[in-house]
């Protein structure tokens, strides 16, 4: 398999964003995933979100682990630096990258095997630390790349293709993310772009650890009857708690809603998250209630989606560590090296 370059002809009527880029400028190489794979829709949503946010592509770094899902960063933002690291360890690589240069936007892309099985520890710890990033798990309940074994997010009792039932309890990543103190937690579905794109945009504008669990059916190994990660199952059991509109600096904020039906949250950068409440009176700012809601609704067989929790005034790792404003990678000898005189004093104290 070699790289397939896309023809880059430009339609004169393609819409451009504030930077003069078209949606095309946010694309990457042609995907080599199975036709119909949920992961490709998520790549499309990432492209759309970055386009709409007027993000300079080179100011975003995309990092991933290993898996079909972790391959996808090749298929979007072709002008951005990317890092396909090792299985289950993307969070540590992203954490290091973020420590080195706090000025970029960090997008971590992972799979359910990558994050909930081999990488569960790193998943939890990078959220605890409040690494400023968007962390998307493309969750299909199986290991796609190694041909369909159950992953740790497969529901207990879910059936594999041969009809065998998964005996183990599932890891629920959004619940774990809440417990770990993630300040932005969402779940969505690769088949629901209208819901997913605003969630990615909001997450990119969030300061702190933002996690999106995106159900993303594997058409090759986990889209059959009896699977709880199939297109049909998720469509039937999808229980969205809210619908999100994101208003950034240049958007005009409209106000055509009924009193009491929306919740507005202003993030640190001024972006406004308007949540239209659906059904129950859901408060996305209360992590304890969110956890209880997730647990009770999932027990009832529902797939809870939407913006599950957001803390607007969140701090990130750099704020907690009190690092300098400038990227650490930009500092030079003058700023880093104490010099010969300081060393002479150190020597003197050691005699």
């Amino acid at each position: 398999m070699t790289h397939i370059a896309k023809p880059r002809f430009r339609h004169p009527k393609l819409p451009v964003n504030a930077l003069g880029f078209t949606r095309r400028d946010y694309e990457g190489a042609v995907s080599t995933l199975c036709a119909g794979c949920g992961h490709d829709s998520i790549s499309g949503a990432i492209i759309q979100a970055c386009f709409e946010l007027d993000l300079p592509p080179h100011r975003l770094a995309k990092l991933s682990g290993i898996g079909c899902s972790s391959k996808t960063p090749t298929y979007f933002l072709g002008n951005s630096h990317g890092f396909n690291s090792v299985h289950g360890r993307m969070p540590s690589v992203l954490t290091g990258a973020n420590l080195a240069n706090r000025d970029l936007v960090y997008l971590g892309v992972s799979g359910d095997g990558d994050s909930a099985s081999i990488g569960l520890g790193q998943f939890a710890h990078c959220l605890r630390r409040g690494v400023d990033m968007v962390y998307i798990v493309e969750n299909n309940g199986v290991y796609g790349l190694t041909k369909g074994q159950f992953s740790a997010t497969a529901d207990q009792g879910a059936k594999d293709r041969r009809g065998g039932a998964n005996p183990d309890a599932a890891v629920d990543l959004p619940s774990l993310a809440l417990l770990m103190g993630a300040t932005f937690v969402a779940r969505s579905f690769s088949g629901d772009k209208a819901q997913l794109v605003p969630l990615i945009k909001a997450a990119m504008r969030h300061r702190g650890a933002a996690f999106i669990d995106c159900i993303s059916p594997c058409v090759a190994f986990n889209n059959h009857a009896g699977s709880t990660k199939s297109f049909d199952f998720v469509r039937e059991h999808n229980e969205a708690v809210n619908f999100l509109d994101v208003f950034t600096g240049r958007d005009e904020i409209t106000a055509d809603y009924e009193e009491g039906t929306v919740q507005e949250i202003v993030q640190h950068d001024g972006s406004v998250l308007r949540l239209k409440k659906l059904g129950a009176d859901y408060d996305a700012t209360d992590p304890v209630a969110a956890l209880a809601y997730l647990q009770s609704h999932q027990t009832a067989g529902e797939v809870v989606t939407g913006l599950i929790h957001v803390k607007a005034a969140a701090e990130d790792l750099h704020a907690r560590m009190e690092t300098v404003e400038a990227p650490l990678s930009s500092l030079d000898e003058a700023e880093l090296c104490p010099g010969a005189d300081a060393l002479a004093a150190i020597n003197a104290a050691l005699r």
């Binding site: 070699t2 002008n79 630096h81 990317g82 990258a97 104490p338």
Partner: protein, 611 residues
């Protein structure tokens, strides 16, 4: 009456203490006062893998001749731990001395007839002076230092000065410490004069040297070398490297205007995460390192392979301890050479630096960041518990303010604009080292996808065998380039031409210096080469080729550096004779000289008969 060992500025004192009793700083005070008298000292901690209540020893060698390796044998035992009393007494040389707390009488059955007893009623003195049990315990240590200093003739003024320096920021503690010191000194003056045949006499053999442990020196090297990201997971004997980096940074790396930090230190959830963070930070342009020991090296293997193959600079300090597994966590060894030189799966080879003392820990630490950036590859700095956790007397640390960091082949936006086409893995200069770009540099040029899977010269995914081989061959060419960049070996030639050589490295250095002198005195001449890095330069090959027999001295079981010499420097295995010491204690000159002399006798019985 037993005989009395008589020695000035040439003896071994061993302190047997209970871990956590506060003895460490008192023992250190004792050692530094001798150094202030101008007499070289080496001091080694021997401690168990427990925090409190277990035995710990501090072995001090006083040597005006400057022999800083471990000597073996004890002339004066300071027996402060009843639990280890019998074993401690057994170690004393005939005619040596036992310094003990004489508050309670000692049973004659638990003594030896051929050693001399020096008793000070430490408990009684402290119980009379102090009522607080904690003070009784702590000041007992200072009281014995006072008594010893008087017996040995250490200038009182030197100790007083040290106490004042030590408590500069806690001045209230100075008078109490000085008083405890006097309690010991005056008891010794009044009751013990003439009982000890050992003495410290003022000399001029220390010069500008400093007393520092390798981990502290390496941490300083990281500060001076421009490291900004440290990620680590606690493990003896490397922990103090990360700790020292933190304390040096707090003092030296604040942004003056804001007090904000020009560094980030993360205590990771495990070693895999630690090296992952280092790799991520280095990929993104920061100088980053981790500090660990053998078990951590094992856990980091997959990332080493990724960093090698994706060509990411990373610095790894391995402060070696006895292995395998949890091994001997508080004992020293040089047994991770193979694990580091060939770390990870697939065909990998790594740059390994081998500091021989704390000063080189400083220098190699700073240099490792230049090498990693220049070569775009992981660089291992291998010290061990002996260098890392013991203070050594070594030359002052030096820094040239004109020195600039070598950030290697990194293209900025201007360079990208000026070039036709960027290829991340193109060998433009013919040295095997490609050019790299950092994320965020240019809006439309230089972006690429870093991966551990195979790729072509333009960083595009490929599974073509020819592309894979092309890349692997270039990595070998890069390794060739490394040979000229890493620290060169140091050679000390014998006084006259000889067919015998010896190769050694790392913490073996001081014992080797002394062994060479001893062997020379016995008419055995050896040319000596101290290796300072892997890969080996042509000089190393030449050294083996130029000698008939070469002893290879190392502190591991399997002759790991010897294997590397055979594998990587084309050395003739029949010429290489291993001298191996790996019981966890630092190697001694007696062991080296004895082993080499014995091998020579065994190889040439005629010579023995002639003697």
């Amino acid at each position: 009456m037993p005989t009395m060992i008589e020695a000035a500025n040439d003896f071994v004192v061993k302190f047997a203490n209970v871990n956590g009793s506060g003895s460490a700083s008192a023992n250190r005070l004792f050692v530094r006062s001798i150094i202030r008298m101008g007499v070289p000292v080496s001091a080694r901690n021997i401690f168990p893998s427990n925090i409190q209540g277990l035995p710990t020893w501090y072995e001090v060698r006083v040597s005006e001749a400057g022999h800083l390796g471990r000597r073996g044998g004890v002339d004066l035992m300071v027996a402060m731990n009843p639990e280890t009393w019998d074993a401690d007494i057994a170690e004393i040389e005939p005619g040596g001395y036992l310094f003990h707390d004489s508050t309670k009488p000692v049973l004659a059955s638990r003594l030896r007839g051929d050693i001399n007893l020096i008793g000070v009623p430490l408990t009684a003195i402290c119980n009379e002076r102090y009522s607080d049990p904690r003070q009784r315990q702590l000041f007992k240590n200072i009281v014995y230092v006072g008594a010893l200093s008087s017996l040995l003739g250490i200038d009182e003024a030197e100790i007083e000065r040290l106490i004042r320096e030590q408590f500069r920021s806690k001045e209230k503690l100075i008078p109490a410490n000085l008083e405890a010191l006097q309690l010991g000194r005056s008891y010794a003056l009044d009751h013990l004069s003439g009982q000890l045949g050992l003495s410290v006499e003022r000399a001029d053999a220390v010069g500008e040297r400093i007393f520092i442990d390798g981990n502290n020196a390496a941490a300083l090297g990281c500060v001076y070398g421009g490291a900004t990201v440290a990620a680590w997971y606690p493990i003896t004997p490397s922990t103090s490297l990360a700790d020292s980096f933190g304390s040096h940074c707090r003092r030296l790396r604040g942004e003056p205007e804001t007090g904000r930090k020009r560094y980030a230190i993360i205590q990771a959830e495990d070693e895999i995460a630690a090296i992952g963070m280092v790799v991520g930070a280095a990929w993104n342009g920061a100088r980053a390192f981790t500090a660990t020991s053998g078990p951590g090296i094992s856990l980091m293997q997959e990332f080493f392979g990724l960093a090698y193959f994706a060509e990411i600079p990373a610095v790894i300090f391995d402060v070696q301890r006895g292995g395998p597994s949890t091994g001997m966590p508080t004992r020293t060894q040089q047994s991770d050479l193979t694990a580091c030189a060939y770390a990870s799966h697939g065909d990998t080879k790594h740059v390994v630096l081998l500091p021989g003392d704390p000063k080189e820990c400083f220098e190699f630490a700073a240099q490792s960041f230049d090498l990693a950036d220049r070569l775009q590859t992981p660089v291992f700095v291998l010290s061990d518990l002996d260098i890392g956790m013991n203070e050594w007397l070594c030359d002052s640390l030096e820094w040239d303010d004109a020195r600039r960091y070598d950030r290697g082949k990194v293209l900025d936006a201007e360079a990208l604009d000026a070039m036709e086409r960027f290829g991340r893995y193109l060998d433009v200069d013919g040295d095997g080292i490609p050019y790299r770009t950092l994320p965020g540099t240019h809006p439309s040029k230089g972006g690429f996808f870093t991966r551990g899977t195979s790729k072509d010269r333009f960083a595009r995914y490929t599974e073509r065998g020819a592309d894979y081989v092309d890349n692997m061959e270039r990595l070998l060419a890069k390794f060739e380039t490394a040979k000229a960049l890493v620290p060169a070996p140091e050679v000390a030639s014998a006084a006259e031409a000889t067919g015998l050589g010896v190769i050694y490295f790392g913490s073996t250095a001081p014992a080797m210096d002394e062994a060479l002198a001893a062997l020379d005195a016995d008419g055995i001449r050896l040319d000596a080469m101290r290796l300072r890095a892997f890969p080996f330069s042509a000089e190393v090959e030449g050294f083996v080729a130029d000698h008939d027999r070469v002893f290879v001295v190392e502190q591991n079981r399997d002759g790991q550096i010897r294997n590397l010499l055979v594998n990587e420097a084309g050395a003739d295995p029949d010429k290489l004779i291993s001298v191996l010491h790996y019981d966890g204690t630092p190697i001694t000159a007696r062991f080296i000289a004895g082993s080499i002399a014995a091998r020579l006798r065994a190889a040439d019985p005629a010579q023995e008969a002639a003697e």
